[in-house]
Assembly symmetry: C3
Homo-oligomer: 193 residues x 3
């Protein structure tokens, strides 16, 4: 059986990634395409649990880098194995994570080597929309973030994506997700499958 | 015989790369410098032809990634071999290629390893000039592209160049090519040889 | 003894890196933290001297790339060895160096592999402040540089940092250093130690 395509979907907090992903699931089903969405962070947390480390998501980045890298490597291998079983995989993750200690690559080279993705997607929205969604989103702990910071984050995540592009030789696509247009954003991703 | 320098010249569609390259050829001849300009894409197409795949340039990016990477690797090895023969080589290629599936690195890591370039050049022009040249240029199929898209492409190609810089330890130079100043742009490249 | 943390501190000319570093030394001493600041370029020059090449700093970039890479590799190994001895090391260096031949990575992949840093810091300031400091700073030879050039340099150094982030899996933090606020900038670095 041929290896299934691995499409990595990333997006800053506030771009509306979850909305696009659930729209994508609906569209793929309508089109009769078999896709499976896996959340990279969830797989990392499950592996941590097996190692008797019960973490919540935001705690991962506070752990020693070597431990984080082990979780990442395990998640990447697990997903690559699922793809070899033939399914088209949508990997829900981050291109870049902002914490107090700075900008972290969500897809560092050791993950890229194991994951071997076929496409990267950066879901984006205007800085205004990102900011609005962040302020009204109470589900995760966030600092007050200003417009300039959001523009910096967009720039930096594109630079991370560019490094991933040079390291893998596969493309990354920027897909805009303006409010209410998640169906069009999802449609663009379906075309990549 | 010493290995010839390999200078990689890149530029987005519409920056006037071809004009600079023909000016560069003239200047180098006047200065008595032996340079040879090779087009990376042409070498890829010749290799595809040998494999009984007769392609036009814009079709390469629609082929499976593994096939594209094989063409790239072959072109890079061919050019590296020419340089070992002593000639200073100007490699005419792209830092980044924009297609429907996103932004592709023109110089992914597997190409960099084989090519071992000495310098990268990004030829640039103002977004306005790029846009003007693209709209009046009928020789290649292009979508209508807006100013913001062009600015995004400039940003992304610089980020790709930065990744190439970290991966090779050699510099990249941004050279502006305003309309009518191709002689000055070419002169800057001659200085690198 | 545990390996000491390696924090790489970088900044464009004119961001006030030296001021922040001496403030940092003071703060760390007050907090009773043992830190050692090493200058990457100085270690490179010392090694060049041992090889009977007496250079001034700005001459390094005019030497053959293979020689530069040897100096870099040696400096990185020396620093990594110091860290294994247990000290927390602040490495004073550049993310990016601008010369006539273009933008060079201060931390190319072969340096990253030997150095194995734990954090990167980009000290930044507004383009206006950078420009003001550069014009009044007579201690090093510099070209007249315009505002747009400074903005380009900031963008490019962030892209270099992003590539370093993907290649190492450790974070980089942008720390602003507005005039007179070097104590706050230094305080942010102390938190990383």
């Amino acid at each position: 059986m041929a290896k299934g395509k691995i499409v990595v979907i990333t997006g800053l907090p506030g771009v509306g990634k979850s909305t696009v992903l659930s729209e994508l699931e609906k569209l793929a089903k309508q089109a009769g395409k078999r896709v499976q969405i896996v959340n990279f962070g969830t797989i990392m947390l499950e592996f941590a649990k097996k190692k008797n480390k019960d973490l919540i998501r935001d705690e991962i980045r506070l752990k020693p880098v070597s431990f984080q890298h082990k979780l990442q490597a395990n998640a990447a291998s697990t997903i690559a194995k699922m793809a070899r079983a033939g399914a088209a995989l949508i990997v829900d993750t981050h291109m870049m994570i902002r914490t107090d200690s700075g900008y972290w690559a969500g897809l560092p080279i050791h993950v890229l080597k194991k994951l071997q993705p076929d496409f990267f997607v950066l879901i984006e929205a205007s800085p205004e929309e990102i900011l609005n969604r962040r302020t009204s989103d109470k589900t995760r702990v966030r600092d007050k973030i200003k417009m300039e910071d959001v523009m910096e984050e967009i720039m930096v995540s594109r630079a991370f994506a560019s490094a991933c592009g040079v390291l893998t030789g596969v493309p990354f696509k920027i897909i805009m997700n303006p409010t209410g247009k998640q169906d069009e954003a999802a449609e663009e991703i379906v075309k990549l499958l």
